[in-house]
Symmetry: C2
Subunit: 114 residues, 2 copies
């Protein structure tokens, strides 16, 4: 993982790099979701080109996960990793009401810290 255990922020290099913006609405109940989600973050963090991930979900079940990658090739490769493909299938069958994915090239970035 590129984020420290105490920080929800990804520690990213200077742009350019890529973001996969994944918005989703969860179905009711856990049904193995949290365990799989943790496993997928762990697995993603081992993939070539993975830069970091940030995630938030509200009590209404709507969540956003922005994962950051070196380039489009690493995003496409991650999509086809066998365990991840199985998780995507379970996601459509079981865990998500719906989701939207946007793949974008990060061109600039800035931040604020207290």
């Amino acid at each position: 993982m590129s984020s420290t255990p105490t920080s929800p922020y990804a520690r990213l290099p200077e742009p350019p790099y890529y973001v996969v913006a994944f918005s989703s609405s969860r179905t009711e109940g856990d049904r193995g979701y949290d365990t799989m989600a943790d496993a997928m973050v762990e697995l993603a963090s081992q993939q070539p080109g993975f830069l970091g991930v940030e995630s938030a979900r509200g009590i209404d079940g709507f969540g956003i996960t922005n994962s950051y990658w070196k380039d489009e090739d690493s995003i496409r490769a991650w999509k086809t990793v066998v365990s991840h493909a199985a998780a995507q299938k379970l996601g459509r069958e079981r865990w998500y009401e719906d989701y939207q994915v946007r793949i974008a090239r990060v061109e600039r970035a800035y931040g604020f810290e207290r």
Copy 2:
């Protein structure tokens, strides 16, 4: 707003367009935040080039707002709108522990609906 009252999803055109990925950690307490956040979404939705917004915040106070725009010019223009600039200042003084902003060009998109 490009999203319907009942949907947390932005209704977006075909790529390309831009996303502003805004990750933030809130300070304790509301202190006018929710009112201002609602007002800023309303104001943003009236700006030229605004396409939609999606937002999620967990109970830990970490949140992600992805706002979608036609192009970089509309993003830069929105940043300088007077009321928005005032809200940004209050954000740094009062509402946010820290935040990170990444501006990215969306190249492709897909989704799943039940």
